[in-house]
Symmetry: C2
Subunit: 292 residues, 2 copies
């Protein structure tokens, strides 16, 4: 438990150092404040913890590089939240229990905050003192592919602007891509084969998106730190809308099982399995089943 707490603190510290790179007493103040607001306090930090857990399972032979990749993934996730919350998209007032960036700092600063966080993610990786510098560009490449078009989270958000979209393509890009990049980068920054670890991230990303859809229907806005009922309000595709609530929950459990079976055999596999199960119980608690 102490180790989990210190791992959490190490990640927060690394995120703090990264955000500090974008600050200067001579730079524009509102942008610096908004960038900090977009990253702290965080949510569950699932993607970076996943990357670090996989890096650990693969031997963790370049901890600085694995941490830089974890930080980059989280910064990109934060950037996507800031832009997704903009008035032209979800027009969300609340995020992580506090005012969204555009609500607090205005729309212009929110656009720039997202842009700056995207840049910062790649800057963190490019400037890390890695033991194996040759792995840096691989990590940047994997993360860029998971972020941009045609398959990354930017593309995922763009599916919301198309008149026709396949739910699976949409969710794979919008959520799955960054989860798969997290497991692939955890592996490659520790010198393991990224493609063997990608399926774990893909299944987890899919499960996480289904859990998000379920919580959008029956979650508690206070506990989630964001409003619920958004998929219906924005007429957005969702597993809960497509499969019904019970179907979505069954699907979630199926996906968690697939994720667990996708963990490659390695000394750290039992710990990872336990982590996935604990995380899935946190995402869709048993109490939810009783309320259906």
């Amino acid at each position: 438990m102490a180790s989990a707490q210190s791992a959490q603190q190490a990640l927060e510290d690394a995120l703090g150092s990264a955000v500090a790179l974008s600050e200067s007493p001579h730079g524009p103040m509102l942008l610096a404040q908004a960038t900090h607001h977009a990253v702290f306090p965080g949510g569950a930090r699932i993607r970076p913890h996943l990357a670090l857990a996989v890096a650990g399972a693969c031997g963790h032979d370049d901890p600085e590089l694995s941490m830089a990749a974890a930080v980059a993934l989280e910064l990109l996730h934060c950037a996507s939240l800031v832009h997704d919350d903009l008035p032209c998209f979800d027009d969300a007032d609340i995020r992580r229990g506090q005012p969204s960036v555009h609500k607090k700092f205005g729309e212009r600063i929110a656009v720039l905050t997202g842009d700056g966080l995207i840049v910062l993610a790649f800057q963190v990786l490019a400037t890390v003192k890695a033991r194996h510098p040759g792995r840096i560009t691989q990590a940047i490449s994997v993360i860029a592919q998971a972020t941009g078009a045609p398959e990354g989270i930017v593309a995922g958000q763009a599916w919301e602007c198309e008149s026709k979209a396949n739910l699976r393509d949409y969710q794979r890009a919008k959520t799955g891509a960054l989860f798969a990049a997290a497991t692939a980068c955890g592996a490659l920054t520790s010198g393991a084969h990224p493609e063997s670890w990608r399926p774990l991230g893909e299944w987890l990303g899919e499960a996480y998106q289904v859990a998000d859809d379920i919580r959008d229907v029956i979650g508690d806005p206070d506990a989630l730190g964001k409003p619920t009922g958004q998929d219906v309000a924005h007429d957005r595709q969702s597993s809960a809308r497509e499969l019904g609530l019970l179907g979505a929950i069954q699907n979630f459990e199926l996906l968690v099982g697939k994720a667990i079976r996708a963990i490659p055999s390695c000394p750290g596999a039992p710990d990872l399995r336990a982590l996935v199960l604990a995380e899935s119980a946190r995402l869709v608690p048993k109490e939810i089943l009783e309320r259906v």
Copy 2:
């Protein structure tokens, strides 16, 4: 002349290949169309040509890497234009003589197009087959610094949101940073010392910003491919507003002189000097002086 034309064509081809990376028949179509629209047809492509000219003057010993850096600089510039044109900033209808991205594809796709172009810029660099791979992360780091906060073009745009801003800090970040990155990257991708080449970019960036301010007052919207009178309309700081038109023109000529004197001594220096003079005559033609 034939060589200048083929250099121009090689850059357009490389930009085409980069944009193609973000396209797939299975990806979201509007985002792909908007990304293409944001990059083609281009403007003068000043930043990438500057990077390639400096790379040439420094011996051009890693042409693929220099081209990747040039492409990344132009993609980031295009990204900034798409976001600067958004309704919450300049609300510009026209860019490079055609409808702006948000005018043609809507605000949501415009936000995502800018995001995707930022990601693509780093992806192009991370995946280039360079002769000297060790230089890739250096180039990414220089370009990221020139793009993000606290000193890059994102910070430059953020100065517009502050109640107090120093004109020089604003212009250095908004324009100078990417010009300085262009000369620094031209040098470093060819194995030369980036810092020796940075002053050339800084002076040129400052000169270019002053020229832009001058043309915003007395330029021809059709020839520029964008509306004029924007600095007054948006109550934006500008050299022409601060120094008067004649003062701004004198300042422009002073800055061009400083740029020319900042070219480090090398076999390619005479060609570079001629290029800077030709470019400055294109930016602020003599006819303009007669109209003041």
